[in-house]
């Protein structure tokens, strides 16, 4: 090591820059406690501090910042959903994404690529047409395109799929983008931290104290905290937290796996999704192909990977891109997806006063990070649901008012 560099390293004038402050003990009480230091939890903390001046807030995580589904998703951002509620909500999110990097002063590697959802059957062409019309009605750039247009945007694709499931068209969504997911959690975390929010990692919530229907405090692995407001933003751990306050929900946890290949020269500009083949793929700034497929077929509460997934994904990927047969898979991983029966999230107030949820984000949560932070901070600060999330309330199940997003959310990320 050159001496100059060593001198720099031990210099007190240039201390090692840190993203976050280190905290000692937990305070005895906070105005609000957020469980889960992922993108959603930290975004809520950030907007609470920035927009509502609530800074006596603790964000707790049993592990480390962004170590859950925030760091495990495939980083795709889009708003071409199916229901009016969904389109309005996700479109607000896409707009927030676009100037987030400036807001944070941190490069999020936000890259608008265009997003193709392929249709291999007449039925899916009809669904794409419906989605395009709903999207356009709400001002979202989305249109049905022909196989020729797809081929022009992605000349490497075999649109014939080996002859047995030819591509008939696609839903094209120009603002579809990818971003660096860790940086999103760090950006929100640093922004919240600078405004006084405390982020406590390695702090597990063991119980939530509820007295006559109101939140009183939180028992953690590092002691008891008094608080009147708790936000659960813990993805796959949500059912365990709901048990602590005696609430039931339709959430069922399934692992969602993904993988990246070895890096290669840039050849794939757009994001490609096929609902019929159950796959999606994009190429990262490092040149790796980031690939995903459908959920694991049964409930599991762990982040293990399976060979079945790798085989299934590779088989379908080769139908679209036969030349990838020589490419090696580098890493494979899983996240715990909290699935709901209508493929829409569960957000807002609950029957327990002071207990709020931001959950049911299944396989579609990353793209919604900014708008979830905005709407949940509003909900916490004002103790009433933000207008954009009223149709996502937990009460919709008891009232038989579901928000059917399956057609747009299942594999299309």
């Amino acid at each position: 090591m050159p001496l100059r560099l060593l001198r720099f390293a031990i210099s007190k004038v240039y201390p090692e820059p840190r993203m976050f402050r280190r905290h000692g003990e937990l305070k005895p009480s906070y105005d609000a406690v957020i469980i889960g230091a992922g993108g959603h939890g930290l975004a809520a903390a950030y907007y609470l501090a920035r927009d509502y001046r609530m800074t006596n807030v603790a964000v707790l995580d049993r592990s480390y910042i962004g170590g859950g589904n925030t760091g495990r998703n495939t980083a795709i951002i889009r708003s071409n959903y199916l229901t009016p509620e969904g389109v309005a909500f996700y479109d607000e999110s896409v707009k927030l994404w676009q100037d987030l990097a400036v807001d944070f002063d941190l490069n999020l590697f936000y890259s608008a690529r265009g997003h193709f959802t392929l249709a291999h059957t007449d039925a899916s062409v009809r669904t794409m047409r419906l989605r395009a019309e709903v999207n356009k009605h709400f001002g979202v750039e989305s249109e049905l395109v022909s196989p020729d247009e797809i081929q022009a945007a992605c000349p490497e694709m075999d649109l014939n799929c080996g002859g047995h499931t030819p591509v008939l068209g696609a839903l094209y969504h120009k603002p579809g983008a990818i971003a660096r997911h860790d940086a999103v959690a760090w950006g929100y975390g640093r922004g919240a931290d600078q405004r006084g929010v405390e982020i406590h990692q390695q702090t597990e919530v063991l119980g939530i104290d509820v007295e006559s229907g109101k939140v009183k405090g939180v028992m953690t692995s590092r002691g008891y905290i008094f608080t009147r407001k708790v936000l659960s933003a813990a993805a796959g751990y949500t059912p365990r937290l709901l048990d602590m306050v005696g609430l039931r929900s339709p959430i069922c946890v399934h692992p969602l796996q993904a993988l990246v290949t070895e890096p290669m020269k840039a050849w794939l500009d757009p994001i490609i999704v096929s609902g019929s083949l159950h796959i999606y793929v994009s190429q990262s700034a490092r040149g790796e192909l980031v690939m995903g497929a459908s959920l694991d077929p049964y409930e599991v509460h762990s982040t293990r990977s399976t060979l079945d997934f790798l085989e299934g994904l590779a088989m379908h990927m080769l139908e679209l891109f036969p030349f990838l047969s020589e490419v090696k898979a580098n890493r494979q991983w899983a996240g715990m997806a909290d699935m709901t029966p209508d493929f829409a999230p569960i957000m807002g107030t609950t029957p327990v006063e002071g207990f709020y949820v931001d959950a049911g984000w299944g396989t579609w949560g990353f793209k919604a990070t900014p708008v979830c932070g905005k709407t949940m901070s509003y909900t916490l600060a004002n103790d009433r649901n933000h207008p954009l999330i009223t149709s996502f309330n937990l009460a919709r199940f008891a009232n038989y008012e579901l928000t059917g997003e399956k057609g747009a959310a299942s594999v299309g990320h």
Partner: protein, 86 residues
């Protein structure tokens, strides 16, 4: 390859089976309240644990019940509906 014991066909690859959700008691639709019915239709036991689940062996269309640890993904025992556990 992960294996699972079918009560009729013995040990088979798990890819031959389909998961059909936890075993639940249906309340009497004629006498239960709307809230009880909604709870039955939508709500599930979402936390990890040892659960009883419906499974189907697809090639032989055999429906049966499995007791499984959903945290460790380990099948503890399986039995056909109405029969004693294996």
């Amino acid at each position: 390859m992960k294996l699972m014991p079918c009560p009729i066909n013995g040990w088979r690859p798990v890819s031959e089976f389909q998961y059909r959700g936890e075993v639940r008691e249906m309340p009497d639709p004629a006498s239960c309240t709307d809230a009880e019915w909604a709870d039955y239709v939508f709500n599930r036991t979402g936390s990890p644990g040892i659960k009883r689940e419906w499974w189907c062996h697809i090639p032989s269309n055999t429906w049966f019940i499995a007791e499984r640890d959903t945290a460790a993904d380990r099948v503890l025992r399986t039995w056909a509906y109405g029969e004693a556990a294996q």
